[in-house]
Symmetry: C2
Subunit: 221 residues, 2 copies
């Protein structure tokens, strides 16, 4: 009978279970909390056992990041309109990285993770649909992917450093206050930026960047 084994501990180690546990630790306690000792404790095993399934910490982070990106891309519902589809993909990644900032850190340094192929193909296909000429496709793809990964990672790093909403307001308010006290002769632009810094929405700002890039791409069509 199948349910004879229902009480059986199903916790034999596997790469999937290890990666799953790693993601849980990374999400709840941050990058510094992911140690082989903490991971072993959570999996109720010895630290060395993990090395039977995973080569080292780098492979662990790579697998965890790949999971996050693959899931995020699977959740994206990109419609037929190419510009909207690119925005949807970009926002999907932005939100995933916002939720899993450590994945953003990893991605900025290792942009050739397998799951990034889904992102590249998703965006690239829409560039074709937009009629971007061959000679500009590489550059258009490159600027979009660089911006998405870079800006999303930077945003998530900020958010992680300032866990609560009040922390964020206080921090940005503090930076803005500093900016407003800069020498007006030397920093006229930054001084005027201060007000916007205080009450901008990160997601909107990110998307506005995508739109500006798409507008630029449209000019080389």
């Amino acid at each position: 009978m199948a349910n004879k084994r229902i009480e059986r501990r199903t916790d034999a180690l596997s790469k999937e279970r290890i990666v799953e546990a790693a993601i849980a630790i990374l999400d709840s306690d941050g990058e510094n909390a992911l140690t082989f000792r903490a991971l072993a404790a959570r999996l109720a095993t010895g630290a060395g056992a993990i090395y039977w399934h995973v080569a080292d910490k780098d492979e662990l982070l790579a697998a965890a990041t790949n999971d996050i990106i693959a899931r995020a891309m699977a959740d994206v519902t990109a419609g037929a309109e190419p510009r909207e589809a690119i925005r949807a993909i970009a926002l999907g990644l932005f939100d995933a990285i916002d939720l899993h900032p450590w994945a953003g850190t990893r991605l900025s340094r290792e942009p050739f993770e397998p799951a990034m192929l889904l992102v590249s193909e998703g965006i690239g296909g829409r560039l074709l649909a937009l009629g971007v000429p061959e000679r500009e496709r590489f550059n258009a793809w490159s600027v979009l992917v660089s911006y998405i990964v870079g800006a999303a990672g930077q945003n998530a790093a900020n958010a992680r450093r300032l866990p609560r909403e009040t922390d964020r307001s206080a921090f940005l308010g503090g930076v803005a206050a500093q900016w407003e006290q800069l020498d007006p002769a030397r920093y006229p632009f930054v001084r005027k930026l201060a007000a916007k810094l205080r009450d901008h929405d990160d997601r909107e700002q990110f998307l506005a960047g995508i739109d500006l890039i798409l507008a630029g791409i449209a000019t080389v069509r």
Copy 2:
């Protein structure tokens, strides 16, 4: 006589000397080589002595990064034409981060370093000169700075992982070969990208991204 003291050891510790030594270690041996023990050895002192001048490793990295950016910005000769000036600033940062990849890593996570004010003001002032309307200035500034820091950091991370030119060719060749073997039905765009990947110039690619963004900004003028 002044030269009576010429033989005198001038190596009293100071934050500047410590930061200078840290930059030397980071540049020659990479991020992982910067330890307080290595730093103390190079400065011929005890590890703990450094803490008298620097609060912790974070402050050390912040100061080192700030030095690099400030120097790079001081070296930029930005002419009167706004678009050219923005390109010059962007390239100055790109080259500095290429030379000091660890600064790129730091900058992607801590974009509010003081020296970045010079970058923001330099770019922002040119956006004013370009006639970017008030409501678009924040977004235009944001997309440029995010892209510059993000793309330069990603490029430098790649370059650091592949120290020699042949390593880089081999790596990109390998990635391109993988891309060419992808299922044409699922990855038509990425497959076609492979050829470009093999022989592109990173600096040109970066600059092409700046140009696309500037073209987008021009459309909202």
